[in-house]
Amino acid sequence: MTQPTIDLAAFGELQSTAGAEFVCELVDTFLVEAPLMLDELRLAYASGNADTFRRTAHSLKSNSNTFGALALGKLAKDLELGGMTPVREANGAPLDELELEYARVAKALGELARA
C-alpha cells in the first residue's frame, strides 16, 4: 500500500499536543537536521560504516514518524534493519529513493507547518 507523504492525522495530533507554533520551529529544525542525516548515510555507505549507517537510518526513521512522514519512515526503517547489503545489490537505489521521498516530505512539511 502506498503511504501518503504526510499522514495528516498524525501531523494534526502533533500540532494539537505540542502547539502549532512549536511544531513550526520543530519542522524548521528537522529541515536543517535531515539533510545532514542523509549526508551521513551516504558517507557511512561509502566508507562501509555499518554501525553509523544503521544508527542514522534509525534516527531519520524516528523523526519521520514524529511528523507523520510514514513513507519516509518506512524507507529509513528498511535501511536500518536491512543494512547496506541490499543497497549495494541495488546499486544505491534505496538511498536515491530515500532522498527523493525526503524532498517531497520537506516540501509538504514546509507548507503544512505554515498553513
Binding site: G19, L26, T29, R55, S62, N63, K77
Partner: protein
C-alpha cells in the same frame, strides 16, 4: 532536587537526536515540569552525578555510550539507582523492551511518543518516586543513616554476623527522682535535648545509637560499617558526651533548672551484629558478652562514682597519652572471671 512543595519535577532528557530532544523537552514543559536535555549517555551520567533529577527520559540508540550502558551504570551506582528511568525509543523488537526493563527501566515508550501516554507514565513514575523518597525519609527517622544505607545496599534479612566493635551504654543518674520533681512535659523536653546532644557526640565519632529506652541508650562503634579505631572513637565520643553534658548543665543552672549526671560504660571485642525481631518488625542491634559487659560497666559507674568506665580491651587499644586510671578487677554478673576496669 524536586520542589517538594509545588510538585514541579526536574527531568533529564537524553537523546542524540535534536528533534527528539526538543519535542520531549516541550512535552515535559507542557506538563508543568522542568527539563534539561543532553545529547549523549556520558553527558547524562555527568549530569545525574552532579545534580538532582527526579526522572530520566532515556533514548537507547546513541553513539558512544548507548542507553543500555547508561541503564547499567545507573543501576550500579547507589546514589543514582533510585532515579526512575523511562526509556523512549524507536528500536523495534520485544527483546529490547525486555532488556531495558531487566536493566531497571521503569517503563518503555515507543517513539513517536504519544504525549498523553507520556504524561500518564511520567506522573505515575514521579508518584512512585515520591512514595519511595517518603519511605526513605521515614527510615532515616527510625534508623541511623548507616543502617538505612546498609538496608538499601544489602536488603533486609534477619540474622547476624560476627564483627569486632566497641559497645557503649549510657544513662542519666537519678532520672526517676528528676522526673518526679518536674512536670512530664519538661522531662520530655529534657530527654529530647539529652538525646540530641548524645546522638551528635556519638555520630560525630562514627558511632550509631541502636537503642533508646527511657533515659538510657546503647551505641555501637564499628557496625554496620567497620571502623578502624573503634575503641578510640568510642572513648572520644564518651569524653565528648561528658563535656557536652557539662555545658548543658551550665545552661540548666542559669535557667534555674536541675542538672543531670550521666554514666557511660564501654567494652570492646567480638560481637554479633544484625537484625533481630520478626520479618515485619525488626531492629538493628549487636549482642554478645562484650555488649553485656558494657552494660554492666555503665551500671558500675554509680558504685565507683565515675562518669566513664572502660574494659581492658578498650584501654589496650588507646594511645599511650590517653589518661586512664586502673580501678582493679571487679566481678560482674554473668562473668565467672573478674575483669579489669579503668576510669577515664
Amino acid at each position: 532536587m524536586p520542589d517538594a512543595g509545588n510538585g514541579i519535577a526536574r527531568l533529564l532528557v537524553v537523546d542524540d537526536n535534536k528533534v527528539n530532544r526538543l519535542l520531549l523537552t516541550r512535552n515535559v514543559n507542557l506538563m508543568g515540569h522542568r527539563a534539561v536535555a543532553v545529547a549523549s549517555g556520558r553527558e547524562a551520567l555527568e549530569m545525574l552525578r552532579g545534580d538532582g533529577f527526579d526522572l530520566v527520559l532515556l533514548d537507547i540508540e546513541m553513539p558512544g555510550m548507548d542507553g543500555f550502558q547508561v541503564l547499567e551504570q545507573i543501576r550500579g551506582d547507589v546514589a543514582l539507582r533510585d532515579v526512575p528511568v523511562i526509556v523512549t525509543s524507536s528500536l523495534d523488537g520485544l527483546d529490547n523492551v525486555v532488556r531495558c526493563i531487566e536493566l531497571g527501566a521503569e517503563d518503555y515508550l515507543a517513539k513517536p511518543v504519544n504525549a498523553v501516554l507520556l504524561k500518564a507514565r511520567v506522573g505515575a513514575s514521579l508518584e512512585k518516586k515520591r512514595l519511595r523518597d517518603q519511605q526513605k525519609a521515614l527510615m532515616r527517622r527510625f534508623a541511623t543513616p548507616e543502617v538505612a544505607q546498609d538496608l538499601q545496599r544489602s536488603g533486609f534479612a534477619l540474622g547476624g554476623k560476627r564483627i569486632r566493635a566497641s559497645a557503649m551504654f549510657a544513662d542519666i543518674r537519678g532520672f526517676t527522682t528528676l522526673a518526679e520533681s518536674q512536670p512530664p512535659e519538661e522531662t520530655i523536653e529534657l530527654l529530647n535535648t539529652y538525646y540530641t546532644l548524645m546522638f551528635d557526640a556519638i555520630g560525630s565519632h562514627g558511632g550509631i545509637v541502636t537503642h533508646m529506652a527511657g533515659d538510657g541508650l546503647m551505641a555501637i562503634f564499628g557496625a554496620p560499617l567497620p571502623l578502624p579505631d573503634h575503641c578510640g572513637a568510642a572513648v572520644r565520643a564518651a569524653l565528648e558526651m561528658i563535656e557536652t553534658i557539662g555545658l548543658f548543665n551550665a545552661e540548666q543552672t542559669a535557667a534555674g533548672k536541675p542538672e543531670i549526671r550521666i554514666g557511660i560504660g564501654v567494652a570492646s571485642g567480638e560481637m554479633v551484629a544484625g537484625y533481630t525481631g520478626t520479618n515485619e518488625r525488626a531492629t538493628y542491634t549487636c549482642i554478645g558478652d562484650i555488649v553485656n559487659l558494657a552494660s554492666r560497666l555503665e551500671q558500675h559507674t554509680k558504685e565507683v562514682q565515675r562518669s566513664i568506665l572502660i574494659d581492658e580491651a578498650t584501654r589496650s587499644a588507646l594511645a599511650a597519652d590517653v589518661g586512664v586510671e586502673a580501678l582493679g578487677a571487679i566481678t560482674v554478673r554473668g562473668k565467672t572471671q573478674a575483669v579489669e576496669i579503668y576510669a577515664m
